[in-house]
């Protein structure tokens, strides 16, 4: 039996439903509105292009980070061995000139300053010579790879192969901004990102997916893009003859694993001027050595000590003045280690002192080995007789350089570095025994005199370097070519508008 509903009830239901739907709509619109607010609350001042290399443009959006970053221009801090002052390492240790005879590093090698000087210092270094034009000079374009956020800009335009092609001077006008924001950050999200193909490829070859890394791991990997051992692979898969920047990590990170990698492909960086040994140059295996140390094992990243958090006006942010933690003990070491500053500094210096003691010993042995090998050639030794000896020199110096070039290695991983140096000493002495036997075979039994290399100038004269000529070439380059680069760069950058919101 159906009872008739009164029509006002129907109208009431209608009205209530309408109100509910209206409220739902209001809620939905409120959610949308407040979501839209977000993009205004956190709206940056400048719209960054994907390739924006100018650090000062990024700096408009991230003032605190930028202000701390340009403090990498400060060169007033010297620790016992390093710091951010420019130290002429060849003056400090003239033995290096002998070790690198026949290679650019014997001309000029200075302790690196801050990121702020990346472009200046590579331009000023005698190693890059005094090119007179785009196709002149001793170094390939590859040498620019770690100097500037202009590099990812160019690589994204032309591809890495094209970038590595040609002489260093060929790209001089393109690269003017020192290492900075775009090298590690993605402009859209400010996520840490890897912009250098060499690291990405090395990780891929190790079977690691670059998207699988945690934020904490990325806080070291962005550094590893440059602070790693590398070589210029001319037999690369892309184009024969182009010095393609490659990390020798396929077997692993350790000194032996990389050595095996190089031996297997019979790679050499140069032939030593005195001993004729097929040499390897270790280039700052900072990341590899750090990975073997206790801090890495405990999950501490590079940024945790070299870029500790900082508070300003109640805001916590990452201090972008990358520097020696010894200049900022309070925010680096003391966050975890509750010891007095001077105790912590002593702990670091103790490790460095002990490592350097044996490193110097090894250096001297290798200098002797080079000089003795040269003597052996002079006395008429044959290739056959020298083969093992030269290989020994190669291995000993590779071990020395792996330890020496890994700045901070004696702190990052003192046990590993100690082990590497010990094995280098064993290798060097083994080689010198072979040399002594060879001398006997050649009818000699006297000590080969240790050269007088008490100063940089004497050492450079000993290996026959004409430094004055190099300096003159550099000077001419700075008068003739460098201003042209700067002019072209300015013209280019003037054409880039800064899009402000």
């Amino acid at each position: 039996m159906e009872k008739k509903r009164k029509s006002w009830i129907n109208w009431l239901i209608f009205a209530i439903t309408a109100v509910v739907v209206f409220s739902l709509g209001m809620l939905a619109s409120s959610v949308t509105e407040r979501k839209a607010e977000e993009s205004f609350v956190y709206k940056p001042k400048v719209k960054l292009a994907e390739w924006e290399p100018r650090n000062e443009v990024w700096g408009e959006n991230f003032e605190r980070q930028y202000q701390s970053y340009i403090k990498t221009s400060d060169t007033s801090f010297r620790s016992k061995y390093n710091g951010n002052a420019m130290i002429d390492m060849l003056e400090v240790d003239p033995r290096l000139v002998i070790l690198w005879a026949g290679y650019g590093f014997s001309k000029d090698y200075k302790q690196g300053r801050g990121h702020f000087y990346a472009v200046d210092d590579v331009v000023n270094s005698l190693r890059t010579g005094g090119p007179t034009g785009a196709d002149d000079g001793p170094m390939p374009a590859t040498c620019w790879t770690c100097k500037s956020p202009d590099v990812p800009r160019l690589m994204s335009e032309m591809g890495p192969v094209e970038f590595y092609k040609g002489k260093w001077a060929g790209k001089g006008h393109e690269i003017v901004n020192h290492i900075g924001c775009a090298d590690c950050h993605e402009p859209e999200s400010m996520n840490l990102t890897l912009t250098r193909p060499a690291l990405v490829e090395a990780l891929e070859r190790q079977g690691k997916d670059i998207n699988s890394f945690s934020h904490q791991e990325m806080r070291s990997l962005v550094c590893a893009q440059c602070h790693s051992e590398y070589y210029f692979n001319k037999k690369n898969k892309f184009e024969e003859g182009v010095p393609y920047l490659t990390f020798p990590w396929d077997n692993g990170f350790s000194v032996e694993e990389m050595e095996k990698y190089y031996d297997d492909i019979e790679f050499k960086d140069w032939t030593h001027k005195l001993s004729k040994a097929p040499m390897l140059k270790a280039q700052h295996p900072g990341y590899e050595v750090y990975m073997t140390g206790i801090h890495a094992e405990r999950g501490v990243s590079c940024a945790d000590c070299h870029m500790p958090y900082k508070t300003e006006g109640g805001q916590k942010f990452t201090n972008h003045q990358m520097q020696s933690p010894l200049n900022n003990i309070a925010n680096s070491c003391q966050v975890c280690h509750r010891e007095e500053t001077d105790v912590l500094v002593k702990n670091v210096y103790d490790r460095q002192d002990k490592i350097i003691e044996n490193r110097d010993k090894l250096e001297e042995l290798i200098v002797r080995a080079h000089v003795e090998a040269k003597q052996a050639w002079d006395w008429g030794a044959t290739d056959e007789q020298m083969k093992d000896i030269l290989q020994g020199i190669r291995h000993a110096q590779w071990r020395w350089d792996y330890a020496a070039a890994s700045h901070g290695g004696s702190f990052h991983s003192p046990v590993e570095i100690g082990r590497v140096i010990s094995s280098g000493i064993a290798e060097a002495q083994e080689t010198r025994i072979k040399l002594a036997r060879l001398f006997a075979e050649l009818g000699h039994n006297e000590e080969v005199p240790y050269p007088d290399i008490s100063t940089k100038a004497k050492a450079q004269a000993f290996i026959g370097l004409d430094i004055e000529k190099l300096k003159k070439e550099k000077e001419l380059f700075k008068i003739n070519l460098l201003p042209k680069w700067e002019k072209l760069a300015k013209e280019r950058e003037d054409k880039w508008p800064v899009k402000r919101y």
Partner: protein, 192 residues
């Protein structure tokens, strides 16, 4: 009963339309409010509302980032029912305040939340500070002046000292994926 639910013939059309609108709108609301994210423990959920960004950003610059997300500290973990009951209660209050624009310039933790967080400090750090008498205090002792909360001393853990809606102007909100530039990806693709 049926006669009250089933609309009379001539009403069926408008009722169907209204119900459709109602359900459609509900689905839309579900979508824009990112509703399913509230079931997860992802810290990004908490910044669905941008007033929580300063809390997110300060946590993201702290050592707790590696080991604890928002829910590890801010919801109870004694049992499942309590956890979701508390989470829902907090969530509804937050959503209401945010919708009505009643959020304060400085967000402060409420009484119930204090207890939850204190218990969660103990939950993880129990072993580390088992010899500290602080671990034997409960919230009642604190109220009667016979104890302290962990963050009465550890004042900056993990959100820092200063909280306000404007304390983190340059924060870039997270995107989950670490992006590699496309041209590098292409390189690798080409080589394979």
């Amino acid at each position: 009963m049926k006669q009250y639910i089933k609309p009379p013939k001539k009403w069926r059309m408008p009722v169907a339309i209204l119900l459709g609108a109602f359900i459609g709108l509900s689905i839309y609301l579900f979508k824009v409010s990112n509703a399913t994210s509230y079931l997860s423990d992802a810290p990004e959920t908490c910044i669905n509302c941008h007033v929580m960004v300063p809390e997110y950003a300060s946590w993201n610059h702290s050592s707790h980032r590696e080991h604890a997300n928002c829910n590890d500290c801010h919801v109870p973990h004694d049992n499942m029912i309590h956890k979701y009951y508390f989470k829902a209660g907090d969530g509804i209050r937050h959503a209401t305040m945010f919708t009505l624009r009643k959020e304060p310039e400085v967000i402060k933790i409420k009484e119930a939340g204090i207890e939850v967080v204190q218990n969660n400090c103990k939950r993880c750090h129990g072993f580390v500070n088992e010899n500290i008498s602080a671990n034997n205090w409960n919230i009642k002792d604190v109220h009667s002046g016979n104890g302290k909360l962990c963050w009465d001393c550890h004042r900056e853990v993990p959100h820092g000292k200063v909280h306000s809606l404007s304390s983190t102007p340059n924060v870039i909100l997270p995107q989950q994926k670490i992006k590699t530039p496309d041209w590098i990806k292409k390189q690798i693709e080409n080589r394979k």
